[in-house]
């Protein structure tokens, strides 16, 4: 009777370990490979209304911006920032990557999605301001060892502008945390 209980306990623990390992592998894979989920609400934007095509391209480009930023910070590659960042934001992130290289650090983001709200669209269509409620898991690694791991519910304010064939991020500023 006692042996059977022990056997079932071990089986249960083994099963739990297996599930955790599978979840960890899945999360790691999606951190680098998948495009983050971005939902955009443009109901209250002004003074200019968002055109249909713009309403589709912004969530796509913003998601790609987050994906490339996560890749840049995980792999310490400044070249990943060339596609979707410009101006001060690109300078800031480049500085961050360079200082990570100098300190031997890496930052890994697991992106759980963004709720984007367009809050200002310039009359000439040359800039848009967004509010992003982002859900992320962040790990800071020193020499491959995780030294900090935390789930984040952070609110960002961003400014994006149209480039030649995409929207690029000019400013992305975390302004506070929020309840999940």
């Amino acid at each position: 009777m006692k042996t059977a209980a022990l056997r079932y306990s071990l089986l249960g623990v083994g099963f739990a370990v297996l599930i955790c390992a599978a979840a960890a592998m899945y999360l790691r894979a999606s951190a680098s490979g998948e495009i983050p989920r971005v939902q955009m609400n443009a109901e209250n934007v002004g003074p200019r209304q968002i055109e249909d095509l713009t309403g589709k391209s912004i969530p796509r480009d913003y998601a790609l911006a987050w994906q490339t930023m996560a890749q840049a910070l995980e792999n310490n590659r400044t070249d990943m920032l060339n596609g979707y960042f410009t101006g001060f934001e690109k300078d800031e992130l480049t500085q961050r990557v360079k200082s990570q290289i100098k300190s031997g650090l890496h930052t890994r983001y697991q992106d759980r999605g963004h709720k984007l709200e367009a809050i200002f669209y310039a009359p000439a269509g040359d800039a848009m301001q967004l509010r992003d409620r982002a859900q992320l898991d962040m790990q800071v690694l020193d020499d491959g060892k995780v030294i900090c791991e935390e789930p984040l519910n952070v609110e960002y304010v961003g400014i994006i502008s149209p480039g030649a064939d995409r929207w690029v991020v000019r400013q992305l500023q975390a302004v506070g945390t929020q309840k999940p």
């Binding site: 800031e92 800071v140 935390e150 945390t177």
Partner: protein, 283 residues
Amino acid sequence: MKTLSSFAILLFAVLAAQGAEIHPPAQVTAGTAITIPTSGSGDADLYLVGPASASKRKVQAGSDISVESDQLEHAGRYVAILCASDGCASSSFFVNPAAANRLSLLVHPSRVPVGSGNGISTVAFVFDNFHNLVLKPEPVKFSVLPKGGSEVSADREAKDGVAWVRLTSAKKEGPTKLGAAIGHANEVRVVQQVAADACNLRIKASRVKNNYLIETDPVRDCSGNSVPDGTVVSFTMTDAEGKTTVDVPIKRGVAKIEMPIKGRARVTVASGVVTGNELEVGG
């Protein structure tokens, strides 16, 4: 006595097992130095990860650790991590923008026809000295200074770091300065106001040898501004042989063309969407 000593040992063990802790202030103003109190003891590593930096340095756990102002210039979320022999502890805090003192001004378009209702859009993004977007409401002073005219200004409150106005261009052509000011920042852009479409386009005809010289009066817009040289005027002649259209750019304020006309012909003129008078010549 045995119970008491066991309790003392347990208490000591619990205290000894307590890891290093770190307690940064929850909110910091950009460009301000801070001190981060820590607990624990022994050698430790302090990591500070922010929007534009990630640093690592050796510290003594249990002491107050100072962070220089230049490490906290970028607004956003920072994580302070203290790793001692017994593990790592972390705490996050936010750096908020400092006082508004910079502007990024977008003015569109750079050339605008006179009298265009809400034809000029001016958007100002409000920043602090470290290029952080200042989100709290701040008054931005917009001003318009036409060439040879007096300045007109209006205040708009920035919302979430953005203030904007739409302006109607003046009736008179020429450059006009558009400015926005906040704190010590005063950004100015120049918009060239150009004549609008031609107005009251009129032509006249005169005989030159065997041809007719068809010539416009000086081409002006409805406010009396000269339509710029190079603007195309189209002359269309309809006679017994059919219809002929010739495009001519304005030179020195007028557009003219010599046309060989046999018999009676009707000549019309247009510039863009504006049509002028009609002439009957020949016969």
